[in-house]
Amino acid sequence: MKIVALCGAGIGTSEILRVNAVRALDRLGLDADVSASDVANVAVAAAGAQVILTSPELVGSIGRTNADIVVIQNYFDLDEIAAKLEAAIG
């Protein structure tokens, strides 16, 4: 399973989201390849991905994708991230 955490610049916020997504997946007992990317490279980075994790503001920039887009409000809230990931892939 492939999951991409997405932000505008590819540094910083997407990495925080990636780290906390890995933790949330651990908690769910799920295994996935989680990477961080930026909007400019989303088409390549998210090729074959099941899930794109991102913020509400970036959804409109993603374009066409077969991945489920999961919107995270609080990047540090493991309960929110785990619940939304479980709903998308569990």
């Binding site: 505008g8 540094i11 910083g12 990495e15 989201l17 906390n20 933790r23 503001e57 970036l58 990047y75």
Partner: protein
């Protein structure tokens, strides 16, 4: 290459600005840019690029209630990697759907895309404690900020 962002509980004085006055989010990001410049991490134009990122993509840098992480891509105006912490005298709104108003802003400068990762992972550890943002906003000394940022340490292994 040696990783050169200092541990968060050893941030130098210029990297911490307390109760900065900012009329709006652009002014708040300028305060972050000033701290990065004072820390020897970037030239003032980096502030313009941090603002431009929000203008292009929206206020997605507001990643938790009350907390923004200002940053831009690596570039010639970044002279050294670094992290700064700015707290605001009065919170400002970025126009985020859920996480406004913002009272604490982290500023991140990276000289290449992957250099910041260890420091960012330690930020993720710290801010999983939801009491940290209001505690930082209320801090009255740089030592208090350093103490709060030293409260958690990166876990060993892959983020388990």
């Amino acid at each position: 290459m040696t990783f050169s962002i200092p541990p968060l509980d050893q941030l130098p004085d210029p990297a911490i600005a307390l109760h900065a006055t900012a009329a709006d989010w652009r002014s708040a990001i300028r305060a972050v840019a000033a701290a990065l410049t004072a820390s020897g991490c970037s030239e003032p134009s980096y502030g313009d690029r941090m603002i431009a990122l929000v203008e292009e993509y929206g206020p997605y840098i507001v990643i938790a209630p009350g907390l923004a992480m200002a940053h831009a891509r690596p570039g010639p105006d970044v002279t050294a990697p670094g992290i700064v912490v700015v707290t605001l005298a009065e919170p400002v709104t970025f126009g985020h759907a859920y996480n406004d108003p913002v009272s604490v802003i982290l500023g991140l400068a990276a000289t290449e895309a992957d250099q910041h990762v260890a420091a960012v992972a330690s930020l993720a550890n710290l801010f999983n404690d939801e009491s940290l943002i209001p505690a930082l906003a209320a801090a009255t000394s740089r030592d208090e900020v350093r103490r709060l940022l030293g409260a958690a340490h990166p876990q060993s292994g892959e983020d388990s």
